[in-house]
């Protein structure tokens, strides 16, 4: 074996040895996948997005009401255990009217009440029941000018 071949082989072995820890470290620590919201959290996130959308075109009189309700949904989301920051996903193309918000709130209140009776623990059932009541109040608040 020539000296050159020996050096090349040694280099390959070294490269392989150096590569191993790098490979094993990559498999040991895969990149973190983003958290997936549960159905209740996903619903609250969708409602917050709908209010953000509605606020982009709201008049002065509506804005205060919409903002209060939007913030209450943020409180619901946090109470349901979602700790991630909220991304602003509004698009200027889509208009969201009060009627659509009312329908969404009505459905959310029903869904939260159902979830309360299917909750895995009593504390979550209580939180979901209170959120359902709050969302039923939103339907009425949105009827007011």
């Amino acid at each position: 074996m020539t000296d050159r071949r020996r050096v090349l082989q040694a280099g390959l072995v070294c490269t392989a040895l150096l590569a191993l820890p790098a490979c094993s470290s990559e498999t040991a620590e895969p990149p973190e996948s983003p958290p997936v919201p549960d159905p209740e959290q996903a619903d609250e996130l969708a409602l917050i997005t709908a209010y953000d959308q509605a606020l982009t075109t709201a008049g002065v009189r509506s804005e205060a009401t919409l903002r209060v309700i939007r913030d209450e949904h943020v409180a619901h989301l946090r109470a349901l255990g979602w700790e991630q920051p909220l991304a602003n996903t509004t698009t200027s193309a889509q208009r969201v009217g009060r009627k659509a918000l009312q329908n969404a709130e009505r459905e959310a209140a029903r869904s939260r009440a159902r979830a309360a009776t299917n909750a895995e623990d009593s504390e979550r059932a209580q939180i979901l029941a209170l959120i359902a009541a709050s969302e039923a109040q939103h339907v009425v608040s949105l009827e007011r000018p």
């Binding site: 409180a75 309360a116 009776t117 209170l130 959120i131 359902a132 709050s134 109040q137 939103h138 009425v140």
Partner: protein
Amino acid sequence: MSMQAALDGEYAIMYAYGVAGARLAAQRDVALTLLEEHRASRDQLRQWLLADGDQPGPPAPAYTLPTTVTADTAARDLLADLELRLIPLYTQLVADFADDQPRQRWAVRQIRACALRAQFWGAAGQAFPWPEELPTPV
């Protein structure tokens, strides 16, 4: 025990509807309808207590209201306040009825009904409808 507490709450608010209803300048018909809802809740609680082998306690001979009701605004404020005060009692029942879905569903509906009646009488919407004087459970 907490069913009896809810029943006591229903007795108290029925008394308050009687006092406040007489001071309302308008919407007495609505007050009467809402009073009927409370009578139905009272009857349901009494029925379940009996079904569970407990004797439902009677209403108190008299109640001291938290505020003096002399006019329409005070009457509305009182009813809004007392509706919210029922919510912690029904929230407790949601936990107590964890193993009985029909009863738990009823307790969930009661919370919603109290929150909506409170709002009707002038209470502001809340993220977690609850009386102001108590710490929120969330």
